[in-house]
């Protein structure tokens, strides 16, 4: 007990000593980054805010129309549906990617002999752009010349992208295939950081592999999991490229997620005002969802996992 308190005291003293000579960086150091942030994040956001109260086709000057865009969105079934779809795809993404990437990551953190080679193979999707991944999967899932043509027992008539459930399934699966490696990488790092002594102590107490996983690995990866889930949520809410290439929001508007609907309004229909309003709604929804995630996970008052060590 006394040995421990001496150790912390010397540690604290050392930290103070090393920091004493250096001064805190002044505001000048932050200026370039702040300027960039203002120019490329805050200014566009403010412009979108202003544009969302206008009617603008990009040619003549914007006309203010008050809340017309927002009241139109409120009555727009495609918009209402798109928010539900976005949340659904996000939830499906988290639910499918978390278990797989957790298992892959923890496995990849281990000392097995074939680990490095297999990990490299698993991480290949991470190197490909979402666009390339979508193009490849479209070809693989072609109903007449791809896998479904050979596997009727699984795919039926192969009309995967012709129904809402089929398209959502494909989008979720392709997202899983593409993003699981990145989250596995995060979990691998987290698992590597778990002190070996915990496992040794558990082994002495007679805990098997499963008990070690559920009682040491999982609790120790809690903060890692929160980080990974937040990344998944942010990625899920802004899903766009896979939708653009795999389904184009179809069949009909069955997979028109909010980000894709915004793109359609802005760059195909040239309704920049309405598109800005959609963007603003997306910002509000995304902020709400991340607030909920942060609140539920206790991210704000995160405790250390090293307590008691």
């Amino acid at each position: 007990m006394s040995a421990l308190s001496i150790a912390t005291r010397t540690g604290r003293a050392r930290a103070r000593r090393s920091g004493a000579g250096a001064t805190r960086p002044g505001i000048a150091w932050a200026a370039p980054a702040t300027l960039f942030f203002l120019l490329f994040a805050i200014v566009p956001l403010v412009m979108v805010l202003v544009l969302s109260f206008t009617n603008w086709n990009g040619l003549s000057s914007p006309q203010f129309n008050g809340f017309a865009n927002f009241s139109k969105l409120l009555d727009d079934p495609v918009m209402r549906q798109s928010i539900g779809l976005t949340l659904l795809l996000t939830a499906l993404g988290v639910l499918t990617q978390t278990p797989i990437s957790l298992l892959l990551g923890v496995w990849a953190a281990g000392p097995q002999r074939n680990r490095a080679v297999l990990s490299a193979v698993f991480f290949i999707p991470l190197l490909l752009s979402a666009t390339a991944v979508s193009v490849v999967w479209r070809a693989i899932l072609d109903p007449n010349f791809g896998l479904p043509a050979q596997m009727h027992w699984l795919f039926g008539n192969g009309n995967l992208l012709g129904s809402q459930s089929g398209s959502i399934g494909v989008l979720t699966f392709v997202g899983l295939w593409q993003y699981a490696p990145m989250h596995a990488l995060i979990y691998q790092g987290g698992a590597r950081a778990i002190p070996e002594v915990l496992y040794q102590a558990a082994a002495i107490d007679g805990a098997g592999r499963f008990r070690q996983f559920f009682h040491i690995t999982l609790p120790q990866l809690r903060t890692t999991m929160v980080t990974s889930v937040i990344l998944m949520v942010v990625g899920g809410l802004t899903t766009f490229d896979t939708v653009l290439i795999l389904t184009q929001g179809g069949p009909g508007t069955d997979t028109t997620v909010t980000a894709y609907y915004m793109y359609e309004q802005a760059f195909q229909s040239f309704n920049y005002g309405e598109a800005s309003a959609i963007a603003l709604v997306l910002v509000v929804v995304a902020t709400l969802v991340s607030l909920i995630v942060v609140r539920l996970s206790g991210y704000g008052s995160m405790r250390s996992e090293m307590e008691g060590l």
């Binding site: 914007p62 203010f64 007449n144 192969g158 009309n159 012709g162 229909s269």
Partner: protein
Amino acid sequence: MKRRASSRVLMSTGCAALALGLTFGLTACSSGGTSSSSSGTITVLVYGDTGNTVEKQIIDTFNKTSKVKAVMQTIPGAEYQAKLNTIINTSQAPDIFFNWGGGSIAPYVKANLLLPLDSFIKQDPALKSSFLPSVFNTAVINGTSYGIPMRGTQPVLLFNNKSVLAKAGISGAPATWADLLADVRILKAKGITPIALGGGDQWPTLMWFEYLYDRVAGPTLFQDALNGDKSAWASPDSQTALSMIKQLIDAGAFGSNFDSVKFTDGGSPALLASGKAAFELMGSWEYSTQNSADPAFAKDGLGYSAFPSVPGGKGNPADLVGNTNNFYSVLKKSKYPQADADLLKLMYSSEFVQAQLGIGNLPTTTNTPQYLSTAASPAYDEYQYNLVKSAPSFQLSWDQAYPPAATDPMHTAVAEFFDGKLDANGFIQAMQNLPTS
């Protein structure tokens, strides 16, 4: 009031930043081009694809004799319309630009950005009389000409796989709607998908509506609707056309998985070439698509015909739909209108016609027939040319005729009608809700 003024300042800074970014992008992709603002040059903005070799060649020819030099810039395919729309009202706007006529330039005409070409035509009547009227009219808006045809025509034809038809005992392409329905029944019984459809792209689906509406109601119904008469969509002719399409879908003509098939990734052309499907309704580019995938099939196995007639319908069986041509339009603020006019005159020169035929495009000038023998596929080009020349009406694709804001809801409506998610009344309502201007 104050809020309004300050927002405009904000917006213009934003536009400047956007335009700045675009200039960098454009300079990067134009081959050594200079800025349009320097004196003595005009900028020609073209949709970037393999056809650019001819545009470049014509501009080089122009530069040999002209004091004002033309500079070509390109924007790669899919992004063309979106980027054009962002720069057209800025100082980075080109002098002359590529477009599809109709709805693709109507918003610019409305915003008073385009130069009426009447004075050019008055000065040189050949600028109008050298082109087939049904094509030239696509870029006539409210009675004024705004564009000169500058590439090839692309009518929509009914393509077939000759050997599949022969094996099924079908002699030749269907001449009437009843023939087509009979063929569908025969092919379906043999386990062949009667008609390949890239439903995932949605615009191939739209072609069926374009032809059926023309054959049943004649070209006026769509023109009325486009001019703002929404009741046209609810007319008995409209109902008839929809019920005929429904009849074809319900007969299983398109199979059951067309929503997962695309033309653009080669899915539906492969269905036709491999004999898994017998027909495909597609623009004339089907030939070059098949030719690049399998030249032997394009040459001997690919049949083509006009869309079947509908007995009792008001439309002339010789009517066509599709992309009439692409056009060059001129901006009002161009500094050298005379140079613009001189460049446009090259669009009916023999050099232009021969160069276009050489890369497989079919120009729509009146002097085209005398060079047809030099084309890459003379018989096919001659067939198309005669169709276009004798067509009483050549309807521009609906999604190009309507303004851009209508494209997505229109595509969604046709796809949902094919899926059965919209019935005839739902479709009519969707079309009535389209913005017409």
